[in-house]
């Protein structure tokens, strides 16, 4: 009797699962058909986004005055980056507080476009302030001031960050 009972219970389960499976198969076919259309609209929206980005760049940051600043973290660095503040000629350009995901992305080799703006041609001063925690868990805040020249072409600066050490604030700025 026990075997009959168990078989009955299990059969019941199987029937219901099978019924659900049939319904899911039908729905699955419809989902697949929609999936193709979703992929197409994704492609369309990506194109719109790309065109919009180009338009924005032309409209808001003309090449003659464009300045873009990127932030990267030196390879093999495990310090915790909490925030970066960038000033241009004494004016605050941007202040960014990093989420865990953003920091992880930087540590994996990603590069953040931290600022896009406009400056006139000529000499300028860039001040970078970094706040974080060393690998050993100690809070730190370091700053560096750098001179750069803006020519007629778009200017791209890269800030590379490392944990500050002896005689080093851990901030490097270079042309890219």
């Amino acid at each position: 009797m026990s075997k009959c009972r168990s078989a009955a219970l299990l059969a019941l389960t199987t029937i219901f699962l099978a019924g659900t499976a049939v319904a899911q198969d039908l729905a699955g076919a419809n989902m697949k058909s929609l999936d193709g259309q979703v992929q197409e609209i994704k492609s369309d929206v990506l194109d719109i986004s790309s065109e919009l980005r180009n338009l924005e760049e032309r409209l808001l940051y003309p090449s003659g005055t464009q300045l873009a600043i990127f932030v990267a973290v030196e390879e093999q660095e495990d310090f915790r980056l909490d925030a970066v503040q960038i000033e241009i000629d004494g004016e605050l350009a941007t202040h960014h507080i990093y989420s865990f995901n953003e920091l992880e992305a930087l540590q994996k080799g990603g590069v953040q476009k931290a600022y896009t703006g406009n400056v006139v041609t000529g000499s300028h001063e860039l001040r970078v302030t970094v706040i974080g925690k060393t690998d050993g868990g100690k809070d730190f805040s370091s700053s560096g001031t750098f001179a750069f020249a803006k020519g007629v072409k778009p200017k791209t600066l890269g800030i590379t960050l490392a944990e500050p050490g002896l005689g080093s604030d851990g901030i490097q700025v270079g042309d890219w």
């Binding site: 026990s2 219901f16 899911q24 989902m31 719109i48 790309s50 065109e51 476009k113 890219w176």
Partner: protein, 625 residues
């Protein structure tokens, strides 16, 4: 008892196939780095949008080797394919990788591309194409993906229904660091599919005994034991099934199914006392779980067979109550979905910021429907549909934001036009005058440079005469002509010749000093001309920038507006269709679960009455004695 031991095979097949985005060594292209920054955060739309634009720009260059992306172009093409795949754009995913395959690249790069292409085909369930891509792998293979290639090949064979072909490959992968556990289990499945039951059981036994502390490998170990146990159950070798089922960890992902099956195995060999143990544990677990619900019914059944009818009646009563509560929940859930709350909850942004958003969704009191949708959420088609719905909602949000921006751009352009247009005619008049003067000065400057250069090769002292000297020289030459009719030794002619000689003497002797001075003056002029030219160029740029700041935007903004509106309409349509489909499938699933619970409830009600009767009879018998 078709518990479909192979039904989860697909889950394992896909495991470990998704490679991470490429980590660029010595990054030279910032925009590629920016795409990686977004990809590493799982923001594949943003990553794709940036990298696609960058790669297209690179491909359009006359001299791509001068572009910084040149150093990463293979990685960029691969990453493009990866991002497209991760953003569930399978149709486009292979495009970039095929481009690498067809380019003149070395073995390592081509084989890496072939592997990635095969992986894409496999994920799209295009098995023949996946095998074709794998067959293109030839020559030097990157060490880092050697095992990945073989594991993929074995999985393609398994999915293609050619388990025999996969066996040798999987045997060779048994010692692989990354795939050893998966290969061990899959080898058991390959034996099973190819009809070698005993080999399959031996292999699953080995996989079920592996020593590891890796969570994924532990899950595989559990799965191997569960499948081995299930194979024995299917052939009614209940006693043999029990050790395997007992090996499944009690807190692992397969524990509920293992506990349930262990109970039935014991019941089937008339060992109800043993069956009570796993079912008692299971009956106390999450009441929405299929196995737990079945255990609620099975546990009192076991007590009944042990003639403990009073306790059986109590447990049947509890099961009945629990089923009633769950049926109420299901009714609420079905109603809630019909009211559209399920889709509303799905698109709530704050939920989806958490990677375990499905779990969090489940915890929301106002969204009861997800209690019973976990299995559905785990199915590939439903997950694809759900993810598509979420992607569409994201795209819609982006479009709404962009559409607000178009009006702002129109305003910005209009303000600039109003500012510059009245000023420009006057500026242009002044500019034209300045321009003509600048051209003249440039010509003069060029002429002086040419003269200096000529003098360096062919000295001409008279060219460096002062204006006064030039006048005197011209007058002397004129007088010389007039005096030509006089006697050659006439005093006038001698005097003219003497004066001319004095002048030529001075020009010849002072020539080098004068040339040096001329050169110094010219250098000063060069500097002055350079400054003037810089100011002129700057003026031209500013003038052009003034025009460019408001001209040429109307059409692109209008085009973007139209495209965005069209895209929005399509998205609304697709969201409605996708949403309805998700709701329908969810309601069907919940209804099926409700019917099952109602059926369980009927059985519990009947069994409860039966247990009371038996308990009463037993008590009467005891009292009679």
């Amino acid at each position: 008892m078709r518990r479909a031991p192979l039904s989860v095979l697909g889950l394992l097949l896909a495991t470990g196939l998704a490679a991470g985005p490429v980590h660029a060594q010595e990054l030279k292209d910032l925009y590629f780095g920016e795409a990686l920054y977004y990809a590493h955060q799982g923001l594949y739309f943003e990553a794709l949008e940036r990298l696609d634009t960058e790669v297209k720009q690179h491909d359009g260059l006359d001299e791509p080797q001068l572009d910084t992306l040149y150093y990463h172009i293979d990685d960029a093409d691969f990453s493009l394919g990866d991002f497209e795949l991760r953003y569930r754009m399978h149709h486009r995913a292979g495009r970039a990788i095929k481009a690498v395959l067809e380019a003149a690249v070395d073995d390592v790069v081509r084989n890496d591309a072939a592997y990635r292409l095969a992986r894409i085909h496999f994920q799209k369930n295009q098995l023949a194409e996946a095998l074709h891509a794998l067959d293109r792998i030839d020559g030097k293979v990157p060490e880092s993906i050697r095992d990945d290639i073989e594991f993929l090949r074995a999985n393609v064979y398994l999915a293609e229904g050619q388990p025999e072909d996969s066996i040798e490959i999987l045997e060779n992968l048994q010692s692989s660091d990354n795939f050893g556990a998966f290969a061990s289990y899959n080898l058991g499945i390959a034996y099973l599919q190819s009809g070698h039951r005993e080999d399959a059981l031996q292999q699953l036994d080995r996989a079920g005994r592996m020593e590891t502390d890796d969570p994924a490998a532990l899950a595989i170990r559990d799965k191997s034991n569960l499948v081995a146990g299930t194979i024995h159950l299917e052939t009614e070798e209940f006693a043999l099934a029990i050790p395997y089922l007992n090996r499944v960890r009690i807190d692992g992902p397969f524990s509920n199914q293992a506990l349930l099956s262990a109970g039935w195995a014991n019941m089937s060999i008339d060992n109800a006392e043993r069956a009570v143990v796993p079912w008692s544990i299971l009956a106390e677990r999450e009441a929405t779980d299929n196995a737990a619900q079945e255990a609620m019914l099975a546990l009192p059944y076991a007590y009944g067979t042990l003639d403990v009818h009073g306790r059986a009646a109590v447990y049947y009563g509890r099961a009945l109550d629990a089923f009633g509560v769950e049926i109420d929940k299901l009714n609420e859930s079905i109603e809630s979905i019909r009211e559209g709350k399920f889709l509303e909850a799905l698109v709530r942004e704050e939920i989806r910021k958490d990677k375990d958003w499905v779990i969090r969704l489940r915890a929301l009191s106002e969204v009861p429907e997800t209690y019973y949708l976990m299995e559905l959420l785990a199915s590939h088609d439903f997950q694809t549909g759900l993810q598509n719905y979420l992607d569409l909602a994201d795209l819609r949000r982006k479009l709404v934001t962009w559409q607000r921006g178009y009006d702002a751009y129109d305003d910005m352009v209009a303000i600039r036009r109003d500012h510059y247009e009245p000023l420009l005619p006057e500026i242009d008049t002044v500019f034209r005058e300045l321009d003509s003067r600048m051209r003249l000065r440039n010509e003069q400057h060029k002429m002086l440079i040419k003269r200096r250069d000529d003098l360096l090769t062919t000295p001409r002292p008279e060219f460096l005469a002062t204006p006064e000297e030039q006048v005197i020289l011209a007058r002397l030459e004129q007088l010389e002509q007039q005096a030509a009719t006089l006697e050659s030794d006439a005093p006038e002619r001698r005097r003219i010749s003497h004066l001319k000689g004095l002048l030529v003497w001075r020009l010849e002797t002072e020539y080098h000093d004068r040339l040096t001075l001329f050169n110094e003056n010219l250098r000063q002029l060069d500097e002055a001309m350079a400054t003037a030219q810089t100011q002129y160029d700057q003026y031209v740029r500013v003038r052009q920038a003034a025009t460019h700041s408001f001209e040429g935007y109307d059409k692109p903004v209008m085009r973007l507006r139209v495209h965005s509106n069209n895209a929005m309409q399509t998205i609304d349509l697709l969201m409605a269709r996708q949403g309805r489909l998700l709701e329908r499938v969810a309601i069907e699933e919940l209804s099926a679960r409700r019917s099952r619970l109602e059926n369980y409830g009927d059985k519990a009600r009947f069994a409860l009455a039966d247990s009371y009767d038996r308990a009463t009879q037993a008590q009467a018998r005891r009292e009679g004695q």
